[in-house]
Symmetry: C2
Subunit: 356 residues, 2 copies
């Protein structure tokens, strides 16, 4: 841990984020998340079409970090980060010379794309020559099963879980971790998806692991981080998602959390990517997660994180009260209200477990 509120394992990456020609917040989601959470590690954004602007002007986040036209403008940069997640996962053709020039300068290249840099023979050969690293965070070779041994009872495990995909589980885990660190607890964000890994600098891309080894891969992340008092583990998918429920259960049973935070997006009615399928209700999902978790060990949902981006302030307040009444649990939008209520629920659970 490099600073009091850092969630990153390595703060000396000195990144240039490449978004050239693709700098809109949807395509450049990766860039935006890294700018939000690793701002001090970012030297510049590279987009030849927007030189002279700030990252904030270009992408809505990142403050005064400059947008530059070439790597000559960032002589101290150490890492080039591929800042987009395009459909199909392919690198735009006109980025190849930029990536080659980064490698030639001795920069590492960091990517969360499905198409691996290290399997591109031109990049791979250049990297060997230059002695730099091509880091594909989605690549993994996990092949060990869970053993359920060595887990420490004084390291609290909190997993974010969801009503659906893409409701903000990563953001909730990060905001919670930062708040707990600010309260002087030794908390750690455990990343399980490519953007989380780019932010944290470590973790495991759980949805790319062979299915026999998901729980084992998660357990390995837990065992590697137990010097912390609290682990905030990034959830994936949903137990009720027709496509991704296996990933969700592997993560739940591999991390065997003491407590869970249920995340949802207010107003969403159908499954992400499957508009013909209705979402199961929060009540159904709460029961499903708690009974699945309790097949392994006692666990409960300790709070609800509402993503209220589609609601007005008044509507968000109404929704928050409705859900609080229904579940008798802390409810908040971590951006709109801050994560304090969730942090307090985590700390209460920690005390309760210590007293046992």
């Amino acid at each position: 841990m490099n600073s009091a509120d850092s969630i990153s394992a390595d703060s000396d990456r000195r990144m240039v984020i490449l978004t050239d020609g693709h700098s809109n917040p949807l395509t450049a989601k990766t860039a935006c998340s890294v700018l939000r959470y690793c701002q001090s590690e970012v030297i510049a954004v590279l987009d030849t079409t927007a030189t002279g602007q700030t990252a904030e002007q270009l992408l809505g986040v990142g403050g005064t970090i400059p947008v530059i036209a070439d790597l000559d403008s960032a002589p101290n940069a150490k890492t080039l980060l591929i800042g987009i997640a395009p459909p199909g996962g392919k690198i735009p053709e006109h980025w190849r010379p930029i990536i080659m020039s980064a490698i030639a300068r001795g920069m590492n290249v960091l990517s969360g794309l499905h198409e691996f840099l290290a399997q591109d023979s031109e990049f791979a050969t250049a990297a060997v020559t230059a002695g730099t690293e091509l880091i594909d965070v989605r690549h993994n070779d996990e092949h060990e099963v869970a053993n359920r041994s060595g887990l420490r009872s004084d390291c609290l495990r909190i997993l974010t879980i969801g009503q659906d995909c893409c409701v903000g589980k990563m953001v909730v885990s990060i905001e919670l971790t930062r708040d707990l660190i600010a309260r002087r607890h030794r908390a750690k964000f455990v990343a399980t998806g490519q953007t989380g890994i780019l932010i944290a600098g470590d973790g495991c891309p759980i949805d790319c692991v062979v299915s026999d080894f998901i729980s084992g891969a998660v357990e390995k992340q837990i065992l590697a981080n137990q010097e912390h008092d609290i682990l905030c583990i990034e959830g994936q998918g949903s137990l009720a998602h027709p496509r991704y429920s296996a990933v969700t259960l592997g993560l739940l049973h591999g991390s065997i959390p003491h407590g869970m935070v249920l995340c949802y997006e207010a107003g969403r009615k159908t499954v992400h990517g499957m508009p013909d399928i209705d979402l199961a209700s929060l009540a159904v999902l709460k029961a499903a997660y708690e009974s699945a978790a309790n097949l392994m060990m006692p666990s409960q949902i300790i709070g609800i994180a509402m993503n209220s981006r589609l609601l007005s302030a008044a509507a968000a307040e109404e929704e928050r009260n409705r859900v609080r009444d229904e579940f008798q649990l802390p409810v908040c939008d971590v951006f709109r209200h801050g994560p304090a209520e969730l942090s307090e629920a985590v700390l209460k659970l920690k005390q309760r477990i210590q007293r046992r």
Copy 2:
């Protein structure tokens, strides 16, 4: 379908099963299952240490199929099947010349090992020269998500589920399929593990699929087999297994079964491979499977398959009555009692669904 009681997609494989020097029923489990269910496709067992015996004498199954010393004794053979599943998944060194000679004769080689034949450069080169196939049934390149479209309501899906791993889910699915075929229903065994695939000649090795794509891979198997009236889908793992629950849920949500058959081994107390962890009770698992399945669509457990191999006939009868009383469901050991009660439960469910 080649004959009335065949569960195999292709009955012209004309196999020699290689178990040379490893012919005990535990190591040669694959050989035994193939001898049990594909007897008419097997020409011989190859074991130089037991020439002159029958398969039945050597392995306890396979009738008068001869044990031979070399491939010259089986000139019409078309396929060499690797008949063992050794720990570590490696081919015994002294088998290499036997495999090379099979390839040189133009035989295909069929394997369920973790170590792929096709990635062995000596085998691969020889196969190209001879124009034969190296078939690694564990190999897959599944990369499509489930879409939940095109599923036919007149094709009944029955999934075997388990209290644990290795309780006999494959055997129950096969015995049920054969019994339904004998009753003149168009039933099909859908294999999801390597031994099942070796027997059926098709299927998907679901525990080797990347976790994002499990449900998609299962759905593909369903869509490919809907010309049948009843699909008996081979289950894997257990929802309560700390290592493999993700595989189990992916299979459950990918196949969205109309009905499930709960399999268990009488007398087993702890999780397979994890002797420190107690098994969850059948009642807990019944509730867990039904609530997980019902997140997708209405589904229920229609019968219980008891593996009573550790019990005397009297103890098995007592156990059967106890479980019948507890769950008010058909209960049988498919070997000891035959699968009739389960078949009847499947056909009742089929009628009930057709009437809707």
